[in-house]
């Protein structure tokens, strides 16, 4: 039983590391600020979630059901709470960085002409 739980947690943490690798390589290889934020924003969320879920599953395996202490189960609950907060805050941080980059005037790399953000700038009449 405990071997099974260990295997599940190892698989979760390893999957998280693989997705971290994907987002790191993406940040290095993608061409401009906005596309790099794609890699950083999405990769961060899922990989942190997977790693923390792995911790939670591992800790579930450490609970002694014979002399049960609530404090052990609460650790799992706290880890799940961290998951919920990451799911809410990580995309918001990505969004804030994208907006800051746009406000700072970083030109998005484009192959085509016609940029919705340029039109909006025109309407404001700066």
């Amino acid at each position: 039983m405990s071997v099974l739980i260990n295997i599940i947690s190892i698989v979760l943490i390893l999957a998280g590391l693989v997705f971290f690798l994907g987002s790191v390589v993406g940040v290095v290889r993608f061409p401009d600020f906005y596309t790099r934020m794609h890699a950083a924003g999405k990769g961060d969320t899922l990989s942190s979630l997977l790693v923390i879920m792995g911790f939670a599953v591992y800790h579930l395996g450490q609970i002694h059901w014979m002399d049960f202490a609530w404090a052990d189960l609460l650790v799992v609950l706290k880890l799940l709470a961290i998951c919920a907060f990451i799911m809410l805050t990580s995309p918001t941080a990505t969004h804030a960085l994208m907006n800051a980059g746009y406000e700072d005037g970083i030109e998005p790399l484009m192959r085509k002409k016609g940029n919705a953000l340029d039109n909006e700038e025109g309407e404001k009449g700066r």
Partner: protein, 172 residues
């Protein structure tokens, strides 16, 4: 009053989960501080308090299902990023564009949810929201085509009252 009791229970549950101590001393400390916080700043947490309880429960339930669907979408997005980052000709597949659309969602929370969902689904990141206007950066045309409003419908169906109100105003 019911609202304050609800806030108090919410704070107390958080206290118990975070402290992990069940002796009388810590529980009484928790009771005192939760009562203080409730009496001083209970008004800050929720704005609309008139909604019937049943509607709240329904919203919470469909929100939970929505988050499960989101998890699946996040997984797909990450597999896409992984493939793109590790493929030898990644640059050929990157053809970014900025898409602009108007949303029918009214409440700030629904807009926040839509923006976060767009950021977490494959190939798209929200740049800017101003009023009803969304500016979304899509990494290629395939991702841009995915912004066909399916997600907006899902969020609108969580808040049924809102979608009924928005439906009356017609297409923008």
């Amino acid at each position: 009053m019911a609202y304050k009791v609800f806030i108090f229970i919410l704070l107390m549950v958080t206290w118990v989960i975070l402290s992990g101590q069940f002796d009388a001393f810590h529980l009484v400390l928790g009771l005192i501080s939760c009562a203080l916080v409730t009496s001083m700043s209970a008004d800050l947490l929720f704005r609309e308090r008139d909604a019937p309880v049943l509607q709240r429960v329904q919203e919470g339930w469909s929100l939970a299902w929505y988050f499960l669907w989101m998890l699946w979408q996040i997984l797909l997005a990450n597999i896409a990023i992984l493939k793109l980052a590790l493929s030898p000709n990644a640059l050929q597949q990157v053809d970014p564009s900025i898409v602009h659309f108007k949303t029918k969602l009214k409440s700030n929370f629904a807009k926040f949810l839509l923006a976060n969902s767009i950021t977490l689904t494959p190939g798209t990141v929200t740049i800017k929201i101003s009023g009803d206007d969304f500016y979304v950066h899509a990494i290629n045309d395939e991702a841009a085509a995915g912004l066909n409003g399916e997600m907006e419908r899902r969020i609108a169906s969580i808040y049924r009252v809102e979608s009924a109100a928005a439906g009356g105003k017609g297409d923008c």
